[in-house]
């Protein structure tokens, strides 16, 4: 059930069974973004207009982001058919920041169609690529933020980068599954960065945290020469300043 509480004079709605799952917030000091039902897209390119969209498609075919035409789902990303083909979506602007005493929440529910996919999802400084062009690794240069990541069949990890260097890592889950969507959440409580996988705390850290301005992003790719789809049911980010 939905409950509410006051945080820094803002009204925060949260899941009554999980205080770390923020649903919405009201207040003059609230900065928030929620992926919309009917996500606006460019009339010509078809790309979502609220995101900086960078597409990788090495051969024939297209990597596409569209509004999902299924009840309860928001967007559907379909990679083209080559290894490393995919889509990087970064919300325009950098409206969020890890600042002492000003908590924020990031959450996404997403399901890939293949277990050998790559993805990096969370909040980071704006980049057009977070994953290396021809290797199943992150691009460390200029990388800063907090996110979940997986490369091909490895375990999903909770990651923190500051000043282009990894400062925290922990296994969040075993390898990807394709039978159900999973929920990845990051809660900055003002002191600790907490990572949750399907509502269970994975890890928390309070040292060497990112200090740049951040924005929600998702970079999803094929881990092999097979088309992979990613269905996003919801994504939101809320900060109380």
């Amino acid at each position: 059930m939905v409950n509410s509480k006051w945080i820094r004079e803002a009204l925060v709605f949260y899941d009554g069974d999980n205080q770390a799952r923020w649903l919405d917030a009201l207040g003059n000091n609230v900065v928030k973004y929620e992926l919309e039902t009917g996500t606006p897209v460019d009339d010509t390119t078809g790309d979502p207009t609220r995101f900086v969209t960078t597409v990788v498609e090495a051969g024939a075919g297209d990597s596409l982001t569209i509004n999902a035409e299924a009840a309860g789902e928001k967007i559907l990303i379909t990679d083209a058919a080559n290894e490393f083909d995919g889509v990087c979506l970064t919300l325009r602007g950098e409206a969020f920041k890890v600042t002492a005493g000003t908590p924020f929440y990031f959450g996404i529910k997403i399901k890939p169609s293949r277990t050998d996919a790559d993805f990096l999802i969370g909040v980071g400084e704006t980049l057009t690529a977070y994953l290396a062009a021809a290797a199943h690794t992150v691009i460390a240069a200029a990388l800063e933020g907090a996110f979940f990541g997986v490369n091909t069949t490895a375990a999903v990890k909770a990651l923190v980068y500051k000043d282009n260097a990894l400062s925290s890592t922990a296994d969040a889950a075993t390898a990807l599954t394709v039978t159900a969507a999973h929920i990845y959440e990051i809660l900055w409580d003002g002191e600790y960065l907490n990572f949750y996988y399907d509502g269970t705390l994975v890890t928390q850290t309070k040292t060497t945290l990112p200090d740049g301005d951040l924005t929600p992003f998702l970079h999803v790719r094929n881990g092999s020469a097979n088309v992979t789809t990613f269905t996003v049911s919801w994504m939101r980010c809320i900060q109380i300043n």
Binding site: M1, G38, A71
Partner: protein, 244 residues
């Protein structure tokens, strides 16, 4: 006044005195879209809003348009071109809503058509289709492949009807009221998880519990001229909310 209640663990705000008029909802299982002022649009006529799929029918010179309203209290204005059948088919991108047992939803729109007789108007929840209403030769629903729950006013008539379609077949029709072009009216469709109810200005029109649509649906509008003169549909608000 606004009241709230819990439905399937989500918090639903509704209008006191009218529990079937949902205002907003909060919850992890809430899917919703509420039209807001200042909708982002493409730069050239007909200025298609980027979150809507807009299909224009215009045979001659001139242009249909769909623009944010410049009138207080309104969000969107749709204007047809000036020949019979010219107009706009507008649907929210995606198909995020569905009639599913036990998962209630609400659709509501407050709008006004500029001509009560010489116009076609459809508002409600439909499957994606670029021509919900016929574009030539006759006025009415393009039956083939239409599926949904909506209100319909066809050209030459002033009666607006509640309609239900399943796989291109009409399963419900009921007169709702006589349309007037002098005031805004509120058209609402509420599914309580078992039965669909149609309301006009807060009054129950009819209901349907069998032969309900099975496909995914999205908020939909179709407006057309019924004669060689432009018609205008002014929208104060439109929203759709489902608790999954």
């Amino acid at each position: 006044m606004v009241n709230s209640k819990v439905i399937r663990e989500a918090l639903v705000y509704y209008e006191e005195g009218n529990e079937s008029r949902w205002i907003d909802a909060v919850g992890n299982n809430v899917v919703k879209r509420i039209l807001a002022p200042g909708m982002a649009s493409n730069d050239a006529a007909p200025y298609k809003p980027t979150s809507l799929i807009t299909t224009v029918t215009e045979t001659g010179a001139g242009s249909c348009t769909i623009v944010p309203s410049a009138t207080a209290g309104e969000v969107l204005v749709l204007t047809t071109d000036d020949a019979e059948y010219e107009g706009l088919n507008v649907q929210l991108r995606g198909e995020a809503f569905k009639i599913s047992t036990g998962k209630p939803f609400y659709f509501g729109i407050k709008c006004k058509i500029s001509d009560a007789t010489q116009s076609d108007l459809l508002v409600g929840m439909c499957q994606l289709k670029t021509d919900l209403l016929k574009t030539a030769a006759a006025h009415g629903v393009t039956a083939a492949a239409v599926e949904g729950l909506f209100f319909l006013k066809a050209d030459a008539a002033t009666t607006i009807k509640a309609k239900g379609y399943l796989v291109g077949v009409e399963v419900l029709t009921a007169n709702a009221a006589t349309v007037e072009d002098t005031a805004m009216h509120i058209y609402e469709i509420y599914y309580d998880g078992a039965t669909v109810y149609w309301y006009l200005d807060g009054l129950l029109v009819t209901s349907l519990a069998a032969s309900l649509p099975t496909e995914d649906l999205t908020p939909s509008i179709n407006v057309r001229a019924g004669e060689n003169a432009a018609k205008v549909l002014r929208i104060a608000w439109m929203k759709a909310i489902q608790i999954n």
